[in-house]
């Protein structure tokens, strides 16, 4: 926490990988200042190539969305709602008393408990690490692209030519290399307001619940946690506090891991296989 200095879980060294401790990110938009230091730190540490230099016109967000070369993405939401007990005045939208708030949220791979990409990967390139995160081993990935359509959050993507290491699928590594050496992921390490908190998953969940209560007391009526534990995804390691509806952040309200569709699809496939064999045998039997 801010004020704990080098004792903060965002700064102190740890042995989570060696001790097999489940870790996570808790991201809190109410203290985010939209500085994008997390995006920069991620790019620098992981040597992620550029993801295009375009004007989006969408508030101050010219990053757009997560992708093969965007592993952290700070969202800028402009909403016509009040932010907590914010005093609404003549400076809001120019015409008097319209409520207005600017919300920043740093998006990242969710590192699902039941990960669609991991289940889909046919090469075994995507694995689960000791700390519960989902990792793509770049030297094994052959770029089949099946993880891309299997992620319910649209995180992972195949990197196009002519970027370095093109052809493979990429996403946030949870800075597995740093964690192995006892370091905190780059984005959490640099976050100046500790909007991104890194730590033990159970600690973070407790802390997040407390934070929601705190915010509600301060008038943030629509503060809630985004951590889909009731769906087939069964919870995420990088979870968020959000103001308002998840849809506004491009987060699916009820994400599902696509493996739940396998049973009905394979049943139809086997039925078709049997029907085709029977139809063919009947065709030849009656015409012979």
């Amino acid at each position: 926490m801010i004020g704990e200095g080098t004792h903060s879980t965002n700064q102190r060294r740890h042995n989570y990988v060696q001790e097999n401790v489940e870790v996570g990110f808790f991201t809190d938009p109410t203290v985010c200042i939209g500085c994008k230091a997390c995006e920069v730190a991620c790019k620098e540490w992981n040597e992620v190539p550029d993801d295009g230099f375009t004007w989006s016109g969408n508030s101050y967000d010219n990053t757009g969305h997560l992708g093969a070369s965007t592993w952290r993405h700070v969202m800028f939401l402009e909403q016509d709602r009040q932010k907590g007990n914010q005093v609404v005045g003549s400076y809001s939208l120019g015409n008097g008393d319209d409520p207005f708030r600017w919300v920043f949220l740093s998006d990242v791979c969710k590192h699902c408990e039941e990960a669609g990409c991991l289940e889909a990967c046919p090469t075994g390139s995507i694995v689960r690490t000791e700390v519960g995160s989902v990792l793509v081993q770049d030297d094994v990935c052959n770029g089949c692209g099946y993880c891309v359509v299997s992620c319910p959050f649209g995180v992972i993507d195949r990197r196009p030519e002519p970027l370095p290491n093109a052809g493979g699928a990429f996403k946030c590594t949870f800075c597995y290399d740093r964690q192995k050496s006892g370091l905190v992921p780059a984005c959490a390490k640099v976050c100046p307001t500790e909007s991104i908190v890194f730590g033990r998953l159970d600690d973070l969940r407790a802390r997040a619940t407390q934070r929601v209560q705190e915010l509600r007391q301060h008038g943030y009526d629509d503060a809630q946690l985004y951590d889909p534990q009731e769906t087939s995804v069964r919870g995420i390691h990088a979870f968020f506090l959000i103001l308002g509806e998840p849809e506004a952040y491009g987060l699916p309200p009820k994400p599902q891991v696509p493996t739940i569709y396998l049973r009905s699809a394979w049943t139809a496939a086997i039925a078709t296989a049997i029907a085709s064999i029977i139809a063919t045998l009947v065709a030849f039997a009656f015409s012979s």
Partner: protein, 328 residues
């Protein structure tokens, strides 16, 4: 909109916005203030659309032909149509053991690492299952066609020839079993994903892909000169099933969630493909116009495969479809 970012460019955009109220390209319309009115987060996709290019629909097409050709070959061997069996096995071997792997490898982001597919066997990954099905199919189809040809031409003496005949039977049976899976698993492959228009039709897709494969195999054999009533019967069966699927697709609508199937260019591809391999092929066959029916079915089967991949791209880029699909 891709001009270099600079203050001058920003001035140009402001000027344009002031005059027209709208900035072309990416971004929100500026009239009425900064509150975005696009669905989701500035209309950005919630899930990622498929990265697959033209190789994949073509692979679905040839994989379907290859797999179901082996089924026809098996039935033809059983009922002593050796000519049909030989052509069908050649189709199975060429489309299944040559064209299909080439198309699959070409589509990879890193084709030189294609062998990594064979590192693991994951029954929960349809892509992994598909690679093993294709491998098993090729392993049966190629020796199957060689044994069948050697047996037909009576190359060897009686004992060895009997052995060859037995081997041909086993391999063709194996190719037929893996062939039915090869033709249908592709429906599971795209049905068990996070793309709304795909997973909402996960039971229809394997039926459609498998039946289109069977009809295409029969149609191709007919066009190659095998005008026998058994293939005509299969043609009727496949076109009838496809007609039923066309009706199913137009009844089983999910509104916004699967609008990519009913709207846009992707919707037209699906409709044209289904009409060609459904009712049109059925009518042409009914009037005895077998070659025309065969051509209609083949073109329809190919277009609908292209259509389903196009549907995935449209549906995956549509945030509203993803939100709406979560109600089902």
């Amino acid at each position: 909109m891709d001009a270099p970012a600079s203050e001058k460019r920003l001035e140009q955009l402001r000027e344009k916005a002031w005059q027209e109220g709208v900035v072309p390209g990416r971004g929100v319309d500026v009239v009425g203030g900064p509150i975005p009115r696009k669905p989701g987060y500035y209309g950005e996709p919630v899930v990622k659309p498929p990265v697959w290019t033209w190789e994949i629909p073509l692979y679905f097409f040839f994989g379907g032909i290859a797999g179901m050709s082996a089924v026809i070959a098996f039935a033809a061997v059983l009922f002593h149509h050796v000519d049909v069996a030989r052509t069908a096995m050649w189709l199975a071997a060429i489309a299944g053991a040559v064209l299909s792997p080439i198309l699959l490898i070409m589509d990879l982001g890193r084709p030189h690492l294609f062998l990594n597919m064979l590192r693991v066997f994951k029954h929960r990954s349809t892509m992994s299952m598909g690679v093993w099905i294709l491998t098993a199919f090729g392993t049966c189809a190629v020796p199957g066609v060689i044994a069948l040809e050697l047996h037909t031409h009576q190359i060897f003496t009686s004992t060895l020839d009997q052995l060859l005949s037995f081997a041909a039977g086993i391999f063709i049976f194996g190719a037929a079993i893996f062939g039915t899976l090869l033709a249908t698993y592709t429906g599971v492959l795209i049905g068990a994903t996070a793309i709304p228009a795909w997973f909402l039709h996960r039971t229809l897709l394997p039926i459609h892909f498998g039946t289109a494969g069977l009809g295409s195999a029969a149609a191709l054999l007919e066009l190659l000169g095998h005008r026998i009533s058994a293939l005509n019967f299969i043609g009727f069966y496949a076109a009838a099933v496809e007609t039923a699927l066309l009706i199913w697709l137009s009844v089983d609508k999910h509104g916004v969630a699967d609008r990519a199937i009913h709207e846009h260019g992707s919707g037209w591809l699906i409709r044209i493909g289904e009409v060609l391999n459904g009712p049109l092929a059925l009518i042409l066959r009914f009037f005895g116009l077998v070659p025309l029916a065969a051509i209609s079915f083949l073109i329809g089967a190919l277009i609908s495969r292209v259509g389903w991949i196009a549907v995935g791209k449209v549906s995956g880029s549509d945030p509203e479809s993803v939100f709406a699909a979560e109600r089902y």
